[in-house]
């Protein structure tokens, strides 16, 4: 009896240790999978060959960064940052208003309108390129910030609305009504009560649309032909020559494109925590 009583917990201890080791190993593997390419890029960007495991010299250098700066990469990054930030602000502001209407108002054909927003995303972007190109050419919107911003707002709006409606549904309607009883106008309700509560949702949605636009290649390739208007993904492609690839420059350019996104969204990460509404209404 006593032996078994002593043995059993020990067996369980071994089992839990093995279990823990297994979980840790899995986590390490996942991190390796996710982090290795990033590490590779950052290390490679400081190597002449651009390849961390190449047979050649492992000399550290800033030459790659000098190359991309000489090749107007800073302009591409500026274009990307400008277009994306303006488009994200417009898109998120519009999406908040549309989502509020879908969440809080009753109007005819509401379900159909919402379904069309979701369905609209089923079309692959590539079929939009040609008609948009014709329209943009007629409107003089090719090679312009306005055109690209318009285009990016349009393609990221539906999903942003879809996401925000979900977040808004989590904000209890009682709070809207309490604010109305407290004398708030509709605008005050949204600005003072609803917006602060759905801030995590807004940050998540803005992050999503920013990353979507930041890495967008297809529309940029079609609508931006002048070098000074090009965005960062197009700039990155410039380093892939017809016959040769300057891997060092590609790595440096890749690293340089990661940084702005990182710098923008690291501080916002803490806002992405859920549970802000806890305690408002009895669950």
């Amino acid at each position: 009896m006593t032996v078994a009583a002593v043995d059993q917990p020990r067996e369980r201890d071994y089992a839990s240790i093995i279990g823990n080791v297994f979980v840790v190993a899995l986590a390490v593997l996942a991190i390796l999978f996710l982090a290795l390419p990033v590490v590779w890029i950052f290390v490679g960007s400081f190597l002449q060959t651009g390849n961390p495991i190449s047979a050649g010299s492992m000399k550290w250098t800033f030459a790659n960064y000098r190359t991309i700066i000489e090749n107007d990469f800073l302009i591409f990054i500026f274009n990307s940052v400008f277009i994306c930030i303006v488009a994200v602000i417009i898109c998120t502001a519009l999406a908040v208003m549309v989502a509020y209407a879908f969440s809080r108002y009753r109007f005819p054909l509401k379900r159909m309108a919402f379904a069309s927003i979701v369905l609209g995303q089923l079309f692959p972007w590539v079929i939009l390129v040609t008609p948009l190109f014709v329209m943009f050419a007629k409107a003089g919107l090719l090679n312009s910030y306005v055109g690209m911003i318009f285009c990016y707002v349009c393609v990221s709006l539906p999903f942003s609305v879809y996401m925000l409606v979900g977040y808004l549904e989590a904000v209890p309607r009682d709070l809207d009504e309490a604010a109305a009883m407290d004398g708030c106008s509709r605008v005050q309700i949204v600005l003072q009560v609803v917006l602060p509560l759905m801030l995590p949702g807004i940050v998540a949605t803005a992050t999503y649309s920013f990353l979507l636009m930041w890495t967008e290649y297809l529309f940029a390739l079609a609508f931006l032909t002048e070098t000074t208007m090009k965005t960062m993904p197009l700039g990155l492609a410039l380093f892939f020559g017809q016959d040769t690839v300057d891997w060092g420059a590609v790595m440096a350019a890749s690293a340089a494109t990661t940084l702005p996104a990182l710098l923008l969204f690291l501080p916002l990460q803490s806002k992405l925590v859920s549970g802000v509404t806890s305690g408002s209404v009895k669950g």
Partner: protein
């Protein structure tokens, strides 16, 4: 401080009528409780008064001014929600002062009034906390505080105690009554709990299926209900109903004969209502009804005797003190005629004829009269 008048107010959601022609007068300083079973439209009625739901028909007057088209924000009423609806991103202090901030009051005035309300509700130590850091009872207090701060013309309460546990509910109930006394404001309170209604109200409004059943003081509703529904809804344990017929002023059923009633009508379908506390258990052979006991529930000061009459009618009687009874024991009850209330086949009260008014009479169809005769 104000009066509220509802004039044939009705409300429908699409094709569903929720409130039918509700007319009411609520005078200054009254504590009015709207009570009814779930789905009776009581919360909707409160929300139409608040302005959160538009009304479909009729009119609503606040201090004699029609407010049908005045939005909730402009009516100057304060509401305490069942879910409390505290702003989770604001501290208790900010929650309570929010309405004043929106109204553009100066900061010093806001602080003064928030502090005053916090003192009334003993919330001072909690002012810098967030709602998520409070217990249910404290949140409830903050929600009430938010209403007090505004010094509204009318307070609206939508089942404010239903999320509290029983002990706390009783405590807050007393505090609410105290608060009403101190503030002297008009309060409209919705609940499904008839105990809350009885203890809090100056005036009770009983609703069923969107129809007004009866309006009156708690004692009026208890002693002099207008219909079967009100009689059954008010009072705990519930009033007993014994079906039978009325013939020449005497109530007759298989299990009970009692009378005379000063009612000049014969009716084959009549119900007698008698409150459990009015029934007394008497020496065997001396009562006017015999009860077969199912269960005796001992509550300390009294015993609730559940049983059936010979016609299977369920009856509850209240006996003082402890009464030990076996299941299936037979006891005799005295059901006093002067405590019996009569209800006709439509469930409407038939009041004794004092010679002053005309008595409603059933249409004397031949068939019915025959049934009465053979009853």
């Amino acid at each position: 401080m104000s009066t509220l008048t509802l004039d044939r107010l009705s409300k429908s959601f699409g094709a569903v009528d929720v409130l039918h022609n509700i007319s009411l007068d609520i005078t200054d300083g009254e504590f009015v409780v709207i009570v009814g079973p779930s789905g009776c439209g009581k919360s909707t009625l409160l929300r139409t008064i608040a302005g959160l739901e538009p009304i479909t028909g009729g009119e609503l007057y606040l201090d004699g001014r029609p407010v049908r088209n005045v939005p909730a924000a402009k009516r100057g009423l304060a509401m305490v929600f069942q879910s409390y609806a505290l702003y989770p991103h604001k501290t208790v202090e900010k929650n309570m002062g929010f309405a004043l901030k929106i109204a553009g009051e100066p900061k010093a005035e806001i602080d003064r009034r928030v502090l005053k309300a916090a003192r009334i509700l003993k919330l001072e130590p909690l002012l810098s906390r967030f709602p998520r850091e409070l217990s249910g009872g404290q949140r409830q207090r903050v929600a009430i505080g938010r209403a007090i701060v505004r010094d509204p013309s009318i307070f609206l309460f939508d089942e404010p105690l239903s999320n509290l546990d029983a002990a706390l509910r009783a405590e807050v109930r007393v505090e609410l009554r105290q608060l009403h006394k101190n503030l002297g404001a008009t309060m409209i309170y919705v609940t499904h709990d008839q105990v809350e209604a009885m203890t809090l109200a100056d005036k009770i409004i009983v609703l069923k299926d969107g129809y007004l059943q009866q309006v009156g003081a708690p004692s009026t509703l208890y002693n002099d209900p207008d219909n079967l529904f009100v009689a059954g809804f008010v009072g705990s344990p519930k009033m007993n109903f014994i079906p039978g017929c009325l013939r020449q002023g005497t109530f007759l059923s298989k299990a009970l004969q009692t009378g005379p009633f000063n009612v000049d009508m014969d009716c084959i379908d009549m119900t007698v209502g008698i409150r459990p506390e009015d029934i007394s258990i008497v020496e065997f052979g001396k009562g006017n009804a015999r009860l077969k006991v199912d269960v005796a529930e001992y509550l300390g000061s009294q015993t609730l005797v559940h049983g059936r009459l010979s016609d299977k009618t369920q009856i509850i009687a209240v006996a003082p003190g402890e009464l030990k009874l076996e299941a299936d024991a037979e006891i005799d009850l005295d059901i006093p005629t002067d405590k019996c209330l009569l209800f006709n086949y439509e469930g409407q009260r038939v009041r004794p004829d004092n010679g002053s008014g005309k008595v409603e009479r059933d249409a004397p169809s031949g068939e019915k009269l025959q049934q009465v005769a053979s009853c």
